[in-house]
Every structure is written in structure tokens, then in C-alpha cells.
Symmetry: C2
Subunit: 338 residues, 2 copies
DNA sequence: CTGTTAGCGCATTCAT
DNA sequence: ATGAATGCGCTAACAG
């Protein structure tokens, strides 16, 4: 490997200018003669020059990166958001750095630290477990946006759908289909002082029942942990209660899948014996048997919005809380009664 | 924000030593008096000092990072590999940088370029579309490992299962269950001069039939694109052929899910009318109706191996091609005939 | 508009 | 064993 790394100086020489001029055309800052500019550009492509990002960052104090911390690379739903972020960052001078918190707070903490060490200019959390005070502390130093998790003390920095409304509408749909005994599979609703999105879904469910003059039966509300397995367990518990129910509203698709399997194991058909609805519209929801009725969050758009928001924050512009509309996706997992 | 960023110099002052000494204890290099070492360490934690990675990298020429390029953050299978990589890197001085190629060559190319610009010390490709010559060129400059994609001219740098054997075993299993007319849903088998993993699966399928004295019926082999939708289309095509088949072997779970839906739409029951097997053992495979028989690749272990391998390459140690065993996961989607 | 110069924060010789 | 000095490659005043 004889080819020494080429630097800005090589370009300067080949273009017969000073390194500052080279820097100028590269950073497209103040005016430079078209002539010199072309010469520089030519030299750059001729020598296939790539600026050293470390030197750049060290000198400028900016890393031109945005750290994205998600909780699960394997989830199709979060994946949509990541796609959106990618899209939203396209064309901006910033490039994303990804990390996966794996739903474990220590790992998330590490990821955050790594990003902070890398001097990211902005942060996007997709979900997350970190205590809200920590988030606030970070936000004070670094522009921060949260998607899919609502931070009460950082409301403007959050991007989400109206989970209450969505939960209400979904329950309302089941009611309209003639269901009266609607079970609900939720998940831990509070974390530190953060009210999670599933809590809002639950609240919507409760309100819809109330508005319909139906007494909410606490025995029909069971708690899972958002994973498939817990959905199956939830159904087992539900069945143990011996309380009748004709429909199940799972707070996310994963748990709905688990519930689906448990029902199958018990010989209960969907939707003939029990109707089932989920939440998130994961990719596979359309391919289950039967295809699952669920709620779609505009994840890609939300990701784009998140990207746009950090960019704004970085540029000192203010951001306002953004609520996106969700959409009821009606498929075949719900039976019309009577 | 009065607190100016604290640097190595602040530590040096507080510990009454020179910055070089501080640097020494931090880099755990040559001997330093226990006394001074402790003083430095104390100052470090007292001031909560975090070295500037850019300065470090600029001065040392190393970034202490490993770039991981995957093709789909949303796939549970790839997710296992990423988990493994995380595990394998744990404790090493290197931290991973993730990027998602989104199955698009241009994006993958960009991600690679970004990593190269960031001077990653090593690269791990999880799947990928880049032309093999490009990969070879990159490998010449930067330690590189490929997981889930076999590069013929970079064999030692690849980590995979024996896809031929797995395809053979899976087909053999169907034969043992009494099936004679076994359809196969595959995918594009060649990309540039790379023989893809699904091609090996197909070869195993073909050989198993041959060994069983069964003539392979080309009409029973259809091509998809690894996505769910294509599995559904494949079944439609299969049905159009009017050729009888009692089982379908899809080259991956995603296509199996699609096939499952198409069968459902056609009123065909699984496994009563048609048996179905997939490949990859994605998380949801266990939660479909019925649960899907498939092949599990030890993705986490493969990820760990990949991490270990890059680390070795970085340290100048040689690596050898690694083939992992796969495991047949028998579930309820296959009917024993007669 | 353009060249010169001084750091950015740290690793690393080179002396001592 | 330790400190002083040099430079990594680039940006950003600063002069001109």
C-alpha cells in the first residue's frame, strides 16, 4: 500500500490554491472564483479525495451526525420509523448513527454514552426506557426528539399518534360490530413518571366502553409485556377467569399473534368464536390467518417528522409537539355479531 | 452552560502530571507509577472526563469502531445476528456502528462509503448486494467479514450454515413424512458471480429428491423474491400449473407466510391439504397458524463469530471459513401421509 | 476573494 | 518513569 492518504493539502497543490480555499469550496462557504472552484473540484475527483471526518469534527466542533437509538432492530413497526428517519435526513448534511437499546436500560444507557462521546449533533429516541429526568438532562445539552414515547416534561420534543383516540376508535369499531364483552391485553402502563402509549390505548378502550354504557370488567383486562409470548399467556389467564368475551383487543400486534396461537391451541376459532384486533399493523399482520384487524401508525411519516424536527432544533428553530393520525385497518379477524 | 468541555489537560493539572502521563494511563500503555496512575484515575472520575474520540482517532489513526452493514433492521433473523455481533464485541475496545442497506445497492454503497469515511477498523456485512469485486477491493483495505452471504473469492471471510445440507435435510424430512410431490419456492439464485444461499437450499432439495429416486418436476419450482407477497404469488402460480403437490418448501419463512395466506384464500388447509415448511425460524414462525416447521440458523452464534473474526483480522490473525450447524425445527405445519 | 496562521484534543516520539 | 514537543487533517479567524 504505497498510496498515502491524500489530504486537503494534496488538493491545494494540484489546484494551485491554498488549503483554505479548498476548504471553502468544500464547505460551500464564502465566495470563491468559479475558476478556482472548478480547479479544486477537479482535483478532488481526480484524486478521489475524501475529507477526514475526524479532523473536520475536531476543528469544527460538529460531528454532522445524528444518533438514533431504537429498542428493537427486529421490529417491523420501528423499522418503518427508521426508514422515515433515513428519508428525512436525506439531503441534509447530517448522517445518522444507529444503535439498538435492546429494551435493556443499561444497553440503552451505553448507546447514549457512545453517541455523546461521538458528539452527535442531535438525538432521536425511538421508544426507550431511560428515566425521564435523564432524558431531560440530555435534552438540555443536545437536541433531542422522541418518537413513540411521550415524555410529559418534553412534550414539544415528542412525535406520536393520538393513542387515546386510536384505542377509542378501535373499541368503538368492536362495539359497532355488536361486541359487548371485549377483553383487553395491555402492558405495564407507567414507567417512572412517563405515561406510556399503551396506557393511552387502554384509556381510550375504557372511555369507549363507558360512552357505550358498558361497565368495564376489570377481569377482562390482563397485562402482558408487549411480546408475543405474553399474548398467549394473557389469553390463558382470560380463559381461566371463566368470564365470557367475544372479542380481544391487544395493545400491539405481537401480543395479538400470541393470543391467536393460544386461542388456536384451545380450539377457539378466529373470528368465529373470538374476534381479535391488534395495534401497529406490523408487516405480518396482513399475512396471519385470518389477516388481523389493527391500527396503522404512519411510521415512515413519523420518522421523517422526527428527522425534520431534530434538524430544526439543531438550527435553533423551535419545535412543536406533533400528533399524527392513525388509521384503522379492517381485515378479517373480527366477526359481526347477530 | 458555563462548563467548558474538560480535556486531558484539565486532568493533567488536577492530577499534577503531564498530559502524556494522563494519556498513558488511559491507554494503559507503558508503566506509570501506581501513585500517579491513581491520581489520574481519580481526577478522571472526579471531573467526569470523557476523551474526545475525534482527537483520539485523528492522532492515532484508529477509530476503534467496526461498521456493520445489514440489509433489513426489521427482520428478526438478521436481528439475531446483530445481537450476536453486539455480544461478540462486548469487552473488546471496539464499538459497532450500524447502517441499513435496505436491500438497495445504492444505499448499501452509501453506507459503506460513510463507514470508510469514518475510518472504521473493520466491516461486517450481514447479507448484501454489492458486487463481489467491490467487496474484494474493500477487503484489501479493511478487514471484512460476511455473514449470510457466501463470497466465493473471499471464502475465509464468510460465516454461514451449510445451506445445501439444510435444504437436503428439510426435503428429506418431507420425504420421510410420505410426501412425493414437493413444490419449492426459491428466489433469484445468482447475483453477479455470487451463488446465493437460497441456491444452495435449492441444490439440497434437488439432491434429496434425486437420492430418493424422484424426478424433479421443474413445474413445481417457482421463483419469488424472498418477501411475503411473492410467496403468495408463487402459490397462485403453482395452483395454475394444475400439477399435484402435497407439500411446499419455501426458501425462507417470509415466503412461507405469504404461501400460507394464498392457500387459506384458496380454501386449502395447512397441513391437512398441503404441508408447508419454511427456512430461518423467524420469531413469528412459532406463532403462525399452524406453527411452521422450519430451519433455525444459529444467528446469535454466527454474529458472535463474525465479531470475533473481524477482531482477529484487525489483529493480523488469520481467519478460516466457518460453517455452522443448522437445526430442523419440527412444528405442526407438516402432515404425515397415510 | 484568497493565503497565512493558530488551534481543535490527543497520541507519540524524543529527551531527560 | 515522565515531561516537552510535534503533528494528525481540517476549520476558522485573521490579514491582506
Amino acid at each position: 500500500m504505497s498510496s498515502r492518504k491524500i489530504t486537503i493539502e494534496d488538493i491545494a497543490q494540484k489546484a494551485n490554491v491554498s488549503i483554505s480555499t479548498v476548504s471553502r469550496v468544500l464547505r460551500k462557504s464564502s465566495g470563491v472564483t468559479a475558476e478556482k472552484r472548478d480547479a479544486v473540484l477537479q482535483a478532488v475527483s481526480a484524486l478521489d479525495y475524501r475529507p477526514n471526518v475526524f479532523a473536520q469534527s475536531l476543528a469544527s466542533g460538529q460531528s454532522m451526525t445524528i444518533g438514533v437509538i431504537t429498542q428493537n432492530f427486529g421490529s417491523p413497526f420501528y423499522d418503518g420509523i427508521l426508514q422515515g428517519i433515513l428519508l428525512g435526513l436525506e439531503g441534509s448534511e447530517y448522517s445518522p448513527l444507529f444503535a439498538d437499546g435492546r429494551w435493556q436500560e443499561t444497553i440503552e444507557q451505553q448507546a447514549l454514552q457512545t453517541f455523546l462521546d461521538r458528539r452527535v449533533d442531535g438525538l432521536i429516541f425511538v421508544g426507550g426506557q431511560l428515566p425521564e429526568p435523564d432524558m431531560v438532562a440530555v435534552a438540555r445539552k443536545t437536541p433531542l426528539i422522541s418518537v413513540g414515547r411521550t415524555l410529559t416534561s418534553l412534550a414539544e420534543n415528542c412525535i406520536h399518534i393520538d393513542n387515546f383516540q386510536a384505542g377509542y376508535d378501535l373499541t368503538r369499531y368492536l362495539l359497532d360490530m355488536g361486541h359487548r364483552n371485549i377483553a383487553h391485553i395491555t402492558a405495564r402502563m407507567h414507567y417512572q413518571n412517563t405515561v406510556s402509549d399503551v396506557a393511552q390505548r387502554y384509556a381510550g378502550y375504557a372511555r369507549a366502553l363507558q360512552d357505550a354504557g358498558i361497565m368495564l370488567d376489570p377481569g377482562l383486562v390482563v397485562e402482558g409485556n408487549l411480546l408475543q409470548q405474553s399474548g398467549a399467556l394473557a389469553v390463558e389467564m382470560l380463559l381461566l377467569q371463566k368470564r365470557p368475551f367475544s372479542a380481544i383487543f391487544a395493545a400491539n400486534d405481537q401480543m395479538a399473534f400470541g393470543a391467536r396461537l393460544a386461542l388456536y391451541r384451545r380450539g377457539l376459532r378466529v373470528p368465529d368464536d373470538v374476534s381479535l384486533v391488534g395495534f401497529d399493523d406490523e408487516m405480518t399482520a396482513a399475512f396471519t390467518i385470518p389477516p388481523l384487524t389493527t391500527v396503522r401508525q404512519p411510521s415512515v411519516e413519523m420518522g421523517q417528522a422526527a428527522a425534520a424536527a431534530v434538524l430544526n432544533l439543531i438550527n435553533g428553530k423551535p419545535v412543536t409537539q406533533q400528533t399524527f393520525p392513525s388509521q384503522l385497518i379492517v381485515r378479517e379477524s373480527v366477526l359481526r355479531l347477530r
